[in-house]
Symmetry: C2
Subunit: 321 residues, 2 copies
C-alpha cells in the first residue's frame, strides 16, 4: 500500500480561516480585537523565523500582533518586568516567550511569570496540571495540532493503541494526556526504550517526537497504521544542501502506513494554527464573553474533529488488508 | 513459583520512623514542629476512618495535628474561608481536604484554593503541572508510595515495561509520570482497553488501580512480574461478611508473580506515610531551611530507594525462569 499524506498545510489553512471569521465576528459584535505578544530573546536564526511566522499569521487572522525583541544578554529581571507589563496590559490576550532562552535565564521562572490565562503556549505548570486533570485550560499547541490531524483521518480514537516516542514537556507528555482522554491506550516510549521496534509494531497510531532523523523505519509499522511525524531535524544531503527531515523514514514507512504526515507540511503548520486558536480562546475566556464563548469555543472544539476529511480508522485498517 | 508479598505495613513503619527522627532533629536544631491540618466535610464512615488514621499517625511522628470537621451542608464559601485562614496560618505546613466532597461543593475550586506550598496531597494543578514537567513539587502520596514499594524490590527501573490500569488523577496519571521519569516504558490502560490481558502479559510491572475487585487474573501475568495492587474494594464474602479486596486476584496471581502487594497491608499504609513525608518536605521548603532541607530532603529522596530489601529486577526475573 501507499500511505495517504496528511496535508497539514491545507488543514491548518482551514483552521486559520475559521479563526479569521470568528475574529471578524468578535469585532462586529463586541468591538474588540484579540492581541498576541511574542517575546524573542537573542537572534537564534530558527527562533527568529518561527517568531516572524507566528506574528505574520496572527496579523493575517486579524489579531493585533506585537513583537518584543530583546538582546541575548538581557537581564532575567528585565524579561520578567516585560512579562509583568504584558500580564496587566488588557489589550494583550496571549503572551508567548519563544524558547529556547539563553542559559543565564531560568526558563521555568519565566514561564511561571506569565499569567496562566494568557499562556497561549500552554507551558505554565497551572495549565499543564489542569490539562492532566481533565480541566479546561490552555493546552500546548503541537499536541492539539497532532490530535486534530489524527481526527482528520480517524473518527473514533477510543480503544486504539498509540505509541508516542519522546517524553518532552512540549509534545510527548501532554499528547499522552490528550490521547488518553480520547480513550486511546497510550504507551510512552523513548529513544532508549527496550525493543522499540517491537513496541511500535503493535501500534494503530505512532507519533514520533524524539528529535532523531529517520528513527522510525518501515519494518516498525503495522500494516495500515497512522504515522504522525513531529520531528524537525536539519540534515545535509549528499550534495551538502541543508534540508528538514522528520523522525520517520518517510519513503519506507509510507509503503506500510495508511496515513502519514510529511515533514515539512505536516505537524508544523498545525502548531502555529493552534497558537492562534489558543489566543482566540484566551481572548474570549478572559473577557467572559459567555455568548461568544459558547459560540466560538464550540467552533474551536469542533476544529479538533475535522469534518470533510474524516474516515474511520477501521477504513484505514481495512485499506491495509 | 510463589510470589513474595511486599510488606507495605513494615516498609511504611520504617519510613515513619525516619520522619520521626527528622522531626526531632528539626525541633532541636530549629525549634519548630511541622503542622498538618486535615479538613473533613460530612460524616462519610470511610473518610472519617482515613482522617482519624492520618491525624493519629501525624501526632505519632511528632507533628502538630489539627482536624476541622465541617457539617455536610457547609457552604462552599465557608470551606474556602477556612482554607484561606489555614493558608495564612504559619503554624500550618500541610493542608489536606479529605475527598470526596459533597455534590454542592466544587472540588476543583477547593483544591485550587489551597496554597500549593502546603498542598501535601499534591492535587493542586500547579503541583500536578510541576510534577509533569519534572520540576520540584509536592507529588501525590499514593504514587510516591507505589514507586517506593517497587524500588524496595527492583533496584533499577530503567527500561522496564510497566502497565498501569486506571487513569485517575490521584493514582494512574501521576504514577505514569513518576515511572516514566524513572526510565520505564509506561502503558496507560483502562478497564475499557482492548486486549487488556494481552497488554498485561508483556509487562515487567503491573499496577492495578482501576477500582475493580479481582480484575487482574493469574493468566494475565508474565512469569516473574512485579504486581502492585492499589485497589481497595469492599465486597461481601459467602458468609455475608464485608471485607477489603484489591484489583488483583491475589491467589492466582501470586503463583506467577515474583512480588505482589497484598490488600490490605500493601499500598495503603504507604499512602499515609507519604502524606507525612510530604508534610515534612513542605515544612522545611516553606521555611527555606536549606541546611535542613539538604539533609532531610536527601533523606526523603533516599526513602524512595529502600535499602536492605533491594534486589534487582533481573533477580526477580531470574527467579521466574
Amino acid at each position: 500500500m501507499n500511505a495517504i499524506a496528511v496535508d497539514g498545510k491545507t488543514i491548518a489553512e482551514k483552521l486559520r480561516g475559521r479563526i479569521m471569521n470568528d475574529v471578524a465576528h468578535l469585532q462586529v459584535e463586541h468591538n474588540f480585537t484579540p492581541g498576541l505578544a511574542v517575546v524573542l530573546v537573542g537572534k537564534d536564526p530558527a527562533s527568529s523565523v518561527y517568531v516572524r511566522t507566528k506574528a505574520r499569521q496572527a496579523r493575517a487572522v486579524g489579531f493585533k500582533s506585537q513583537q518584543f525583541l530583546l538582546p541575548s544578554n538581557v537581564d532575567e529581571a528585565e524579561l520578567l518586568k516585560l512579562i509583568k507589563t504584558l500580564n496587566t496590559d488588557d489589550s494583550v490576550d496571549g503572551i508567548l516567550v519563544q524558547l529556547p532562552l539563553p542559559g543565564h535565564i531560568d526558563r521555568w521562572r519565566v514561564l511561571e511569570a506569565i499569567d496562566p490565562a494568557k499562556d497561549v503556549d500552554g507551558f505554565h505548570p497551572y495549565n499543564i496540571g489542569r490539562l492532566a486533570a481533565g480541566q479546561p485550560c490552555l493546552a500546548p499547541c503541537t499536541p492539539l495540532g497532532v490530535v486534530h490531524l489524527i481526527k482528520s483521518v480517524a473518527r473514533d480514537l477510543s480503544g486504539l493503541d498509540v505509541v508516542i516516542i519522546g517524553r518532552s514537556n512540549i509534545v510527548g507528555k501532554p499528547l499522552a494526556v490528550l490521547l488518553g482522554d480520547a480513550g486511546c491506550t497510550v504507551t510512552g516510549a523513548q529513544l532508549q526504550t527496550r525493543n522499540l521496534p517491537d513496541i511500535c509494531r503493535k501500534a494503530d497510531i505512532i507519533v514520533a517526537a524524539a528529535g532523531c532523523a529517520g528513527l522510525v523505519r518501515g519494518d516498525w509499522i503495522k500494516l495500515g497504521a497512522i504515522v504522525i511525524d513531529v520531528g524537525i531535524n536539519r540534515v545535509f544531503d549528499s550534495t551538502g544542501t541543508e534540508k528538514l527531515v522528520g523522525d520517520v523514514a518517510f519513503d519506507e514507512v509510507r509503503r506500510r502506513a495508511s496515513y502519514i504526515t510529511p515533514v515539512p507540511g505536516g505537524v508544523g503548520p498545525m502548531t502555529v494554527a493552534y497558537l492562534l486558536a489558543n489566543t482566540f480562546k484566551a481572548a474570549v475566556s478572559r473577557r467572559g464573553l459567555s455568548s461568544v464563548t459558547r459560540h466560538d469555543v464550540r467552533h474551536i472544539e469542533s476544529l479538533s474533529g475535522a469534518s470533510t476529511d474524516n474516515v474511520s480508522v477501521q477504513f484505514a485498517l481495512d485499506r491495509a488488508s
